[in-house]
Symmetry: C2
């Protein structure tokens, strides 16, 4: 099927006189996870990873993705003639240089202007300049092949109430307007779904696992335009918006409406999220700045923090019930990874304000745990028994917050020294980063290595970043702060600030043998102010025991043991009031002192 689609695409290439097309994994809003309508790269390659770019030429089909997805690519694309190009830096546009090198002068390359940001187009133009390569819009071409393409999402939109958001839309818009004034501009244009959902306190289900809304938004000093299908709102929502001078205009009209802005106006926007089709249509002056909403949204208010902590309690309770079920059930039968994922979901479903999973749960048994973004399919899932190692990375969307937790557990038998040593090094790394105190102004790339130090000592490492921001009933990977080894990503280059929620999730993976990862969400706060400035640190808010069966005690220092015991004391104290007696006993055992 994929081969047929590629065949058709090649025919279109020749029909439109194109020498190549670039098909990214994103949508017109630079989303990481996209609605079915925008899964163009998956349609033509079969590859379902959240990051990756397909390049199709008459004589070659090539896909760029990063180390998180190498094993998944092999699995999903083995039947097709697609060459894998391994990116050393996730999201780095390495394919552009490759393409420019391989094309003749005056070649024509097709790209969907909607799927490329202004910044990305600038980059392609810069690299292709010397060969005078033309870039042609192919919005229509894809539609001609993909005739049964799903339409854009059109679910009803909910207002995210103040009891969960903690700040009114009016207040948020005023902050944006202040930025417009100080920036001597007329408008602020937002393209990213997560920023728009935050700004307008709206939620829907346009993107799998993520309660976002397909929209653009143009904030002015007098009034605001929200480009989003009107019929998706209740009349009371529209009335409230109207009082705030927010006009709702259908999504399809966005570009036409934006075109009408006078050429004398100045629009602040984020060059990395503005798509080229919009940029191309608007004749006003753009002022490119990092999005103010990205910055504001990353710092959680008291309501959001209280919500997040409440979600940790709910996740902790669900995981406790789930792991007790798993333990008992594995003594009776083997269970597929797929069933385990579904069962875990069902325990979370019982919790208040549950809205769904925050991403496809990763349930990886033995070697499957080494496939970093593994998703067990109903048919292909491995059968889990009461032995060996199991990695579970899962999370939920609740109305009061978003969760993300990884635990790696030992199911029975005697763990090897290699597994215990590795697991302990991962744990030591987690503790080192979580316990770190660092000056304000520190970015993720500066401190990511604290989580790797103990693995590096053993000649080990992990091929992914150490953590990311997380939304409040929003995106599970929320820009910008986090931890990673390279500066080119927002998790590497963004300064940590108090009141942010970030994951810390070191791991280690041995192909065909095991995957280990330990992940908590931590809350950052101001720890002290000295003559040297303000110092920030983290406090873990995730509440679930870390499997002691895999720990080699002798490798932990006294202070690491102290951390371990303190964390488990907190977990027990917080979760036990919400559990029944049997559950409390199980948890007590899991939270024993080391």
């Amino acid at each position: 099927m994929i081969n047929k689609r590629l065949e058709k695409l090649r025919q279109q290439l020749s029909k439109y006189n194109l020498d190549a097309v670039i098909i990214p994994s994103t949508d017109p809003h630079q989303s990481e996870y996209v609605a079915k309508h925008w899964k163009v790269r998956e349609y033509f390659s079969g590859f379902t990873g959240s990051a990756g770019v397909l390049v199709v030429k008459p004589d070659e089909t090539a896909l760029w993705t990063d180390s998180r997805y190498f094993l998944q690519f092999e699995e999903e694309c083995k039947a097709y003639e697609i060459t894998l190009y391994k990116q050393s830096i996730p999201y780095a546009p390495e394919h552009v240089q490759w393409l420019c090198d391989s094309l003749e002068e005056n070649a024509v390359v097709g790209v969907d202007f909607l799927q490329f940001s202004k910044a990305q187009m600038d980059h392609i133009k810069e690299l292709s300049k010397s060969k005078n390569i033309e870039l042609k819009n192919i919005t229509e071409l894809v539609g001609e092949i993909w005739t049964d393409r799903p339409s854009l999402p059109d679910f009803p939109i909910d207002i995210h109430p103040l009891e969960f958001s903690g700040e009114t839309t009016r207040s948020k818009i005023q902050k944006v307007q202040h930025k417009i004034t100080t920036g001597k501009a007329d408008y602020y244009l937002f393209s990213r779904f997560d920023e728009i959902a935050w700004l307008f306190n709206i939620r829907s289900q346009d993107v799998d696992f993520t309660p976002l809304v397909t929209a653009y938004a143009l904030v002015g000093l007098e009034n605001t335009r929200l480009f989003c299908n009107k019929k998706r709102f209740s009349s009371s929502a529209l009335a409230t918006f109207s009082k705030l001078n927010i006009e709702v205009i259908d999504y399809d009209e966005a570009i036409v409406e934006l075109e009408k802005i006078a050429s004398t106006k100045k629009i602040i926007t984020d060059v990395s999220s503005l798509n080229y089709a919009v940029y191309n249509a608007v004749t006003s002056t753009f002022i490119f700045q990092n999005s103010i909403v990205k910055e504001l949204k990353a710092v959680k208010n008291d309501t959001e923090i209280a919500g997040a902590k409440n979600c940790m309690l709910k996740d902790g309770v669900a995981l406790t019930k789930f792991f007790i079920w798993l333990e008992n059930e594995l003594n009776k039968r083997s269970i597929s990874e797929y069933e385990i994922g579904k069962k875990l979901e069902s325990f979370r479903q019982q919790q208040e304000f549950y809205m769904g999973e925050s991403f496809a749960a990763i349930v990886g048994y033995k070697g499957n745990g080494a496939i970093i973004h593994y998703t067990a399919s109903e048919k292909g899932a491995a059968m889990v028994q009461n032995e060996d190692i199991l990695l579970i990375d899962s999370g939920a969307q609740y109305k009061d917050g978003t969760t993300d937790i990884t635990r790696t557990v030992w199911l029975g038998g005697t763990p090897s020294d290699e597994i215990k040593t590795t697991y302990t090094a991962v744990l030591k790394g987690y503790i080192a980063l979580e316990q770190l105190q660092f000056p304000k102004g520190t970015v993720g790339m500066q401190i990511d290595a604290f989580a790797r130090l103990h693995l590096w000592k053993l000649g080990l490492d992990y091929p992914h970043g150490t953590g990311h921001g997380i939304g409040s009933f929003g995106m599970v990977h929320e820009p910008g702060q986090g931890f990673t080894t390279n500066i080119a990503t927002s998790t590497g280059s963004t300064e940590h600030a108090p009141n942010q929620l970030t994951t810390i999730e070191p791991g280690c993976y041995k192909k065909d043998a095991f995957g280990i990862r330990i992940e908590n969400i931590v809350l950052s706060s101001l720890k002290e102010t000295t003559a040297f400035g303000e110092f920030i640190g983290f406090t873990p808010i995730t509440l679930f025991p870390i499997d002691r069966q895999l720990i080699k005690d002798s490798l932990l220092t006294a202070s690491e043991k102290k951390w371990f015991n303190g964390y488990h004391k907190m977990v027990f104290e917080q979760l036990s009031p919400r559990l029944d007696n049997d559950e409390i006993e199980w948890l007590r055992k899991m939270c024993q002192k080391l």
Copy 2:
């Protein structure tokens, strides 16, 4: 005097219809330390720091420098109306945005095209575009005011022999030619003195403390042109060059000669070191790449490593003799910081192949140690007594290598708990970074924080990078690898590789009280290769005890004590064969086990 010069400069501003001039601290070769001829910024501001940019407008004189130099600026410029703008990132061109903001549209800004790299000019042009600001060359203007400007250096040039360089000029040039061929270019143009000195195995004394030669070099596939005054070479040197197809052409003719290259030719060069005057004159196509020589030079060959180790022995012997002298002398009298620096120099002078200091020694007593790049003047120096704390950062140029070492010592009385705790945290940081094993591909910014961790815990920090590359009878600060908190500098963004020499020098400074710094040079090497790749680590090669009087034993872990004892065992074993009996006894005491 400075005020008069600024007065004259302002008159020239109005004569040439300039709205501002930017005066950097560099020369046409983007050197960090420059010949007297190029000390234009110092001439107009009195500020002698190695980094800093002066901006003069009719109504304001402003200087940008980084935290290493804040105290020095206050000291040197207090008598003049110069506003200090504190840079958070060393060398970041923050003044450009400030200037663009403060100027009217169509303003004219004077810059000496020779003193700005192509990359810097691009940056200024980009920021000044929206105001249509014109950039005018002021090479002549400065000369009109600075009538007694020193001429360019013209010392004899020595050939750096194979017994020290370890690689012939022929071999080095062949590597450059290989790069020209693979880059499909015709020439490789070098502007940096350190790169040219390395490539041609030549040394002189054009720059204070640095044995470099004022030159440009153009390497072609058939022949090579070295733009450097011919009369500076011996006839045998010229004959040798001639055999290698190296033509020596006078420095003054460089731009005129470079202009003659056909416009169809392609020249590879480093955009950050090519000055704008040359760029402007040459009509050929430039291909901008990081300099291949910078990369090659940073990795030392066996001869250079052996030389560096030999220099460590010599430095260790000189420092031992010096500290014994200091101890004895302080029991009799107080001694000025200036005299101490001179005396230290005299002990190094007795060592084989000694060529001079590698930078102005920093001898900072008590609070003077907190001025990071402090230089005691003959008159203003503090008197050192047999009490309290003394920081000495010094180094030498030997024909077989360049050295750089800092020790902080306690001279008598009882050190406070604060000083001991701080000193111990600095030491712990040094050990943490030096003992780190990390994967190939790791850049300085990723691991710099290991040297800060223990200070951060106490709410302390230091306002400088943690280390830099060092040359082989070359620059004491050699690009590119090192450790720093920001990615914008080469020490932050360059990957560490085996066989590099790098300093590790954490510190902590309390204004008017004390300065603490511990600095060793470390050699990097491949430690192990695993399924996760190659792992690199460091070995210290500097040989001199670290003062135990300032250590709070109880704060050191067992493994830190083990490191301390192992290091001192090595220091004693290596130095003692070169010392007399009294000296050996002194050293034995200093190298006792903790």
